[in-house]
Symmetry: D2
Subunit: 343 residues, 4 copies
């Protein structure tokens, strides 16, 4: 059994991660920490876990974590990972950071978008971007995995194959995404009456997931790529839908575009290429580790449309972290993730 510690575990990400881990057949949760909930039993803080996990939250202590666990999954909202990660790695643990601290390779970009200096530039260089469909082999042998952002996961999976195949123009790509409220988390304080029956854009001037997308598109294609990205809030609990506008390169036809996706993902279990953009729906992916994608051309406008849907709490965060953990410990990649789970 792999012994797992989760730090910063009392938030939404912690809750969903624990719901997965308690059902994972080869894993034991041995340590939980949370500043705000230290000293309280799990079931008190996260009522859905009543009867599932009978340990208490502790104040995080690197020495104790090292003694109790083989891997630490860091689920902090803050930059606390920057302090914990080097100590836990020194103690021989493997680390998966669900926060954003180790995603942007360029410390200058980190400073710009996260508002502070990155204190661990060597670890930044070492960290592997945890998107298994792009970096599976590097993840297997990594010490430190930077779990991707939810929007980048949804955008990279369909765009990388189309760009690598040279089928769409790397310039002028526009992304309109929409997310459910779990993406905002509990700390955002979004009241029901302020978002129900509503929709609006946010982070219009710029969202930190955009440089993350641009970095990984550049890494995959060798090209400098600039996106326009507008996220929106929609009144659902979970799910991200991304609609991407692109221009075809040359005489691309719909069948060729679609083939580029199906060929890229023919061996991948968790990326499903749907026949039509209208089949790419939150309803088909929420509660699962799947990312559904499709590509279409709009009659008359000449534009290429790319669609993508995933569950922001699962493939966009927690089940992708479990997928990465399975790779780190050479377990069945789908262990503990389930097919469609208990629905």
């Amino acid at each position: 059994m792999v012994r797992v510690a989760v730090t910063g575990a009392s938030g939404l990400v912690g809750e969903y991660l624990l719901r997965l881990l308690v059902g994972h057949p080869e894993v034991e949760v041995t340590y939980l920490s949370s500043h705000s909930s230290a000293g309280r039993p799990v079931s008190d803080v996260l009522p859905p876990l009543e009867g599932q996990l009978a340990i208490d939250f502790l104040e995080p202590t690197p020495g104790e974590i090292a003694g109790a666990a083989d891997v630490a999954i860091l689920a902090h909202k803050s930059s606390e990972s920057l302090e914990l990660a080097p100590q836990l790695l020194d103690a021989g643990l493997k680390i998966i950071d669900i926060g954003g601290e180790f995603r942007l390779k360029d410390p200058g970009l980190y400073r710009q978008w996260y508002g502070q200096e990155h204190t661990q530039p060597e670890l930044l260089a070492e960290a592997v971007y945890g998107l298994p469909e792009l970096y599976r082999e590097q993840i297997r042998s990594a010490r430190l995995v930077a779990n991707p952002g939810c929007y980048p996961t949804s955008v990279l999976l369909p765009l990388v194959p189309l760009l690598k195949a040279g089928l769409i123009d790397p310039a002028g790509i526009r992304v309109s995404s929409a997310s459910g409220l779990t993406g905002a988390g509990r700390t955002s304080g979004k009241l029901f009456i302020d978002v129900n029956e509503d929709m609006r854009a946010y982070a219009v001037a710029g969202h930190r997931h955009r440089p993350e997308m641009e970095q990984e598109l550049a890494a995959a294609t060798g090209q400098d790529i600039r996106l326009t990205f507008v996220p929106h809030l929609i009144p659902v609990n979970r799910g991200i839908l991304s609609t991407v506008f692109a221009q075809p390169k040359g005489d691309t036809d719909p069948a060729t575009l679609r083939r580029a996706l199906t060929e890229a993902y023919t061996e991948e279990h968790y990326v499903r290429v749907r026949h039509s953009g209208t089949d790419v729906r939150l309803a088909n992916v929420v509660g699962t580790n799947y990312c559904d994608i499709a590509v279409e051309c709009q009659t008359g406008s000449g534009g290429v449309l790319v669609f993508s849907a995933l569950d922001n709490m699962l493939k966009g965060a927690c089940s992708q972290a479990v997928q990465n953990m399975n790779l780190l410990f050479d377990l069945d990649e789908s262990a503990g993730i389930g097919g469609l789970g208990a629905c």
Copy 2:
């Protein structure tokens, strides 16, 4: 008192229209028709109107309509307006068609997007596009008003001033819109369990509101303009949010863009220019005749972002029809539309 007939009145559009008309101080609803509900009292078919309107639905008879009313508002899902309009005009009535039969000036486009021949090309030529902010004077003296589509209203109001001022490139405009379920209507049969907690795109290959937008953008700017337009369904009852991606023309700065909007609409009561894109929300417009708009530039990407929100049942359909009716009969333009109504 203006005597109003509503035909095809037993659907959602009929319901919202009647809710407005029963509160209009200078109007009397004298005739209602509906094939499916003929012979039944209004309150039976449309329970919210219990105690508000005590007449029965009839089978539509042009002669009777002409005797009973000064204006007919046609609220059909089908193309029945093509048959009713000429007879009612001959009888001296004014007409507002909330359906789409008289919007596309080119009969060829009508055939392409509505799937049948247009049998009244002369009336098509005569019809005035009922967007008061663009065609107020023509509407005042019209016999036949083609009430605009909901998506076109949301897209034309912010784009026309920016294009006329030459501030954005007419090429490469992409529109991502989202609509609540009243937009689909009752006949679409969208079940709660199939759309709640879901979001998806639809009409990806092409939606008939796109040529309507292109026609009016061309009319306003004298340029041939092609859009890419993707509508989505979101789980709310009412409201349309449109997010438009455009490229600036020359050294446009955000203040100049914003000024173009504020100057265009300084005299308009029902178009509110918001300071930020995040203030353009369904929550601020649902239940009202307002269209809220904003324009922003995204740092780093060079793109111009245009935002627009309105209530698809009100400014996108029924209260805009009442606004047009008020113009036709020289009433106070906001009569019966209210400010924020009974919330």
Copy 3:
């Protein structure tokens, strides 16, 4: 024009009240106060009012209020009304308190349920309970109106006629109610992710609206009546549905029960007796000042079922306050309330 001041006006109740008042043909809003928003323009604090009302929030000053207004509507969450009311009354204003400070006639009950001493027992004695269907004449000549609670309005309107007619047993009445999130208000801090797709009971040990119901049932029937009352939260913005279980007294049949309701409300515009319990729905009353009610008997169980629905922000709070204001100033009782409003 009646000059209206609203104090404590920056919350949800203030917003809905102002949306009504700006459309009221015989009223002018002349003064707004709010501790938290003093110095800010209305449209800043309450964005839906943009373009509707161009005054600023002030710190409340009884002298200034008295100079500016004929009536003050108090919309405080706190007990501040206890201090404001006597000063404003002394200055000759009329007062409508939307809070609960003047509803419970017994200062002991006030202490028990509101957790503090009532400092104005004489005003408590003077205040008229503002349910127009029960106290219309007293309201007309009142100085101080205690606007009823939302749950009590929904429960009293159907129960009073049935109890007065002696058709149901005053003992053993059980009330199961459900409310949308506007009932909890902004200060309750209910996050979308904590209430969407959820339902739960609250205030199970006892809710302060229960003694209010019991007081008014006693006043109407001359009997001491004890209820069991369980409120629930449901994921909608607005609306209260109350389902009441009672026992018939004697050989009551459904037609007799229903007749008691129709006869009681035959002259009342805002209480609609529906034929069946399943017609009593939030959808038919939200956005209106109506309270829909029905009574049925369940086959085999011998029980009487009473149903009631209203909009907690309108008939349950703000439009009922306007209805009371209209009575105080001898205006048309429905002025500014509309029929079905702008939907």
Copy 4:
């Protein structure tokens, strides 16, 4: 591996059942039938199952089912189970009927509430009511299991121990329940716009789950018990919340009531006794096989309040069917049900 056939499998119940079965480690789905979807692959009819199950729906043929499976789970909306069950039992299969055909022991009640004659009275007598917490041993050795209704499961689990302990009065029990829209199923045709932001009661005159509850309460307590039961529709996808009003028998105190529940379920994994009624929420049970229950007394009213929550598609239907299947084949009772699943 247990070979499982599911008949009537193309509806909502089929979908949720298959989502569980494809993740069950000791089960293989070998046969699916559906009249409406015969000839089509599963992933076509039930898109969430894309990539999970690669078989086609067939027209049901008892002989083929018998050859292909060890157990048949019948998921029909209609009474087709009455014809299939005897043939499949004769062929040696075990049967779990998720429909209601084998729940009411009295053929007269079946006729009254299901509107037709029961053609298999001997099987009715033989069928075991599939509530494992009450009938675990009988289920283990059964041939035919009648899976309970969703409302009865929620009401029986908390009421049976309280009644058996003599703590509440068997007379005058009132049940107010609320269900999400999956409970109505796809055939009910409930449109989003007709139930979103709405709540209403239904089946007010009587619901067929009431005699089912009364039968099982009588079986458990030896007493004739009559309930009043009012179900409501709330705008959520899944979940049932039941609020039960009862009278205490003698000097019952809250601690004694609560102890009766904790003692009854101390060994039961899927019934959780919550400390407070406000902890009994859809949010804590949706996506799981848990039924959460609590009991409280309301200060001053003397009434006992019982709360219960479960997922109508899981403990109220599909995961309870899997739990029964596990008992029938001596598998781990929680196999394939998960703890909290993939959330």
